[in-house]
Subunit: 332 residues, 2 copies
Amino acid sequence: MKTKNNLTLGIDIGGTNTVLGFVDENGNYFAGSSIPTNSTKDVNNFIERLVKKIKLMLNENGAAYNFAGIGIAAPSANYFEGTIESPSNLKWGNVKIVKMLHEFFEIPIVIVNDANAAAVGEKYFGFAKNMRNFIVVTLGTGLGSGIVVDGNLLFGENGFAGEFGHTIIDHKGRLCNCGRHGCLETYASVIGLKRTVYDLLSFYNYPSVFRDIPFKNLTGEMIFEHAIKGDQIALKAYDFTGEKLGKSLANLVACFTSEAIILSGGLLKSGDFIINPTRKHFEDSLLKIHKNKVKIIKSKFDDGMAAVLGASKVILNEINGKPYIKKVPVNE
Amino acid sequence: MKTKNNLTLGIDIGGTNTVLGFVDENGNYFAGSSIPTNSTKDVNNFIERLVKKIKLMLNENGAAYNFAGIGIAAPSANYFEGTIESPSNLKWGNVKIVKMLHEFFEIPIVIVNDANAAAVGEKYFGFAKNMRNFIVVTLGTGLGSGIVVDGNLLFGENGFAGEFGHTIIDHKGRLCNCGRHGCLETYASVIGLKRTVYDLLSFYNYPSVFRDIPFKNLTGEMIFEHAIKGDQIALKAYDFTGEKLGKSLANLVACFTSEAIILSGGLLKSGDFIINPTRKHFEDSLLKIHKNKVKIIKSKFDDGMAAVLGASKVILNEINGKPYIKKVPVNE
């Protein structure tokens, strides 16, 4: 009797949307879908909607497979505890999400940091396939980073390495959700872009459509839309954001000497509006030995999908006896 | 017949002094010595003095051993080419130093980056013995860094990773030898401290002994000496230097989540004058998850000795068939 092939589900829980998709054992992915995260509502509401969605996807696509595991990608994920630990962009506090999902699915489930999952996705399915040293930067509600060194994800001493979004670029700068001032993500993210629009409205006196829009209502999509139409404030906001990001990436490359930076997340929907100024200021700020050697690339995946694929790969590896974080004794 | 034990020589070529020392197979080190580097003179003059010194040391200590190899630590070292590649703090241009020394010693010789050598020294002989994630920062004429991730040195794509001294902390800041503005090493180094003294002389109007000393004549030792005597400018210069260094180290830890930062180099002769403000601003600037978890330690070794020991260890490993940089195929 032929046994069915394994199927894994990847889930990326973002500040706005939660993206889902299946990956089979051959690395083919399909049935990509999403639900709103809506973290202002109770977490049980989210779990209920998520489980319903998963069951629907299984009904439509799962029959030919053995549903083998779920990999979750989320901010502030604790792999060892199976929890999401009060990230600033989700309002649920601490969530024992692996335990909660185990009540509905009696299969292996793991949770990993979203930007790290995206880095795994890029390594196995994206433009980083042949790279050993690269960095994935996700520009969404916040700024996440997954750093690959010599083919391996960088975890650091406690698994929380790669908080590039919380490197401080201006100690007297914008208040960050982390309680400090001037973190990079307060500038280089969708929310950062939005904050920059209002800063520029205060600084310049150009006419701009944004003068009619309250802070609360402005979205990244609207800024993109009006940049296309030539709104001066929108264009300057992208330049400012790209400058902060490009200069910071140059410092990161001074430390890591990566081959490429892969940009992803909601902000990348704006394409060249954000990529061009980022590249310019990056290149201008590099050490001579790095100039013209480090690529800045847009991910080949839509928002969230790299993390979905990466989380799927992580759970598949676990099932095959390859743990995501190996605890190695000192001086082995 | 009993064969003699292997003896290796470590050499650290610094901007001011070149430090030498022997290490036996059991990791014991002895006969530490030094010569002035004096890179304003011809490199042949340096090699001549270096070879003379090595021969003297061998005559005094080498008889009982088999002299097996030389490990050199230097700034801008190219391990693959055996060269020193025009570092800003040595005036020799490109130097084929391994080839030059091979004319005098027909034994294995390698050259490695000085801060990386120091990191190896700290890992095998110093306070980092039981650490898997730590960073060595050498504060001398410039600022070097050796970064250890998961027990391995970070090389990056081309072996030039760890240029933490050339992360830009102020794009309108001090001109750096690299041609850019505001690199960390223009603030956090012996030369940076000296530049700060003159900046502070221009800013304040306190009386200070430094008002009588021309820029060219001022040394790090003199600043230390007058800090002890309570000179306001000297004390403020240390605080300013520690602030720049501490804040930058906090950003580095956000990316790497290291267990400890080990400080070494000439600036550390000033002890608490530099360590205390560095620790204060580091701790104040850390992300909450890192607070009170990352140690800042002074190296247990005198200036240059960690790199001497590390370079010795590297050549001993090479002799034992363990190459320093392994070239690994992509997707192995």
